[in-house]
């Protein structure tokens, strides 16, 4: 482990952010929303610095990292610095993206978009290029419908079960699995 000590902390309020996450892990949705909201700004800064040559990829990677953090949130250990956990996930997703690109560039021309003057310069929250809505539409019904009703329309599990005719536990499993499949689609595995 000769890795360098990570110097850039999740600036001032790491402890406050950690509290929001802990409350989110206990099922407090507004706290969890606040956590993800603040985290996305931090991730954007973190990834922009490391993806200076690919500004167009930053927002997609912010979204992919947020989804990864959500899907693996059970791996956060309460005694662990939040920064280390978040940065390890963001770096993992960053490296995964670079590998994917390297593989793709082997098949196409590697020199085309490196210095493209027309490529947009990232201002605040740049647009993501990949549309998660479109990926959502490709999910099978047993995952897509629970996500639409529970996560987008904000119905409870019981209400979503009623609308879809699925059982309540099947609805919950559908949300959980669907978000994982979404992450797999992004990395090109599904």
């Amino acid at each position: 482990m000769q890795r360098m000590e990570e110097t850039d902390r999740l600036n001032p309020g790491e402890e406050r952010l950690r509290q929001l996450l802990m409350r989110g892990l206990a099922g407090d949705a507004p706290a969890y929303h606040g956590f993800l909201q603040e985290l996305s700004a931090h991730l954007r800064a973190f990834l922009r610095k490391r993806l200076a040559r690919l500004p167009d990829e930053v927002e997609d990677l912010v979204q992919e990292s947020l989804l990864a953090i959500h899907n693996q949130r059970h791996t956060y250990d309460a005694g662990q610095p939040l920064t280390a956990w978040v940065h390890a996930i963001a770096k993992y997703k960053l490296i995964d993206l670079l590998r994917r690109r390297a593989r793709r560039d082997l098949l196409t021309d590697p020199l085309d978009d490196e210095f493209d003057l027309a490529s947009s310069v990232a201002t605040e929250a740049a647009e993501a290029h990949r549309d998660l809505h479109k990926l959502l539409e490709q999910l099978p019904d047993r995952q897509r419908l629970p996500i639409i009703h529970m996560k987008l329309e904000g119905l409870s599990a019981a209400e979503a079960a009623q609308v879809t005719g699925m059982s309540e536990s099947a609805v919950k499993v559908g949300v959980h699995r669907g978000l994982k499949v979404l992450a797999a689609m992004i990395r090109g595995d599904a």
Partner: protein
Amino acid sequence: MRTDDLVAMLATGVEAVAPGAAMRRCAMALGWGVLGAAALMVVLLEVRHDLAAAVLLPMFWIKLAFVAGLVAASLLAVLRLSRPGLRLAWVPGALAAPVLAMWLLAGSVLMRADAPQRVQMFFGETWASCPFLVALLSAPAFVALLWAMRGLAPTRLRLAGAAAGFLSGAIGALVYSLHCPEMEAPFLGFWYLAGMLIPTAVGALLGPRLLRW
């Protein structure tokens, strides 16, 4: 989808996460791995007949302690490598300690033995089958641990796969040691370790493919 919309979507109706979910998953895999190895051993091999006599010998317990130490150290490695941002820190040292201790013991008994004895100590009766039987008994734990890790979030996939492989190898060796009649340190320090390294290599090979998330 805008990032703010994604954030809202992920937070809406979010479920509570049971504390200790990650640990429970590993514990379950470990339990299945041990049970599976024990079942394979009883069905395919059988417990050594002189077990009652063997437990009176110090070397039996040294052998068990060697393997149990490796199980404990590699379990720590698996737990740390399964979650983002945890460092291995002193775990590689803990993994090396039982091996070095066994090699020291092996060196000292080999020095005191004469040449034909040395060959016997190193090869025993079962050197040709031992590593493969250890690897065979590791299979249930190997599958269970990779399943558990797939539900967690390893970020160094090759290393994580190797650690899961080594842990399953150590579990296989632990169960195998109840069958195996060999008691000499040179044998244990080489052939047992070789057996554990088979699933380790397979894990390192499969890790990047199977553990990606």
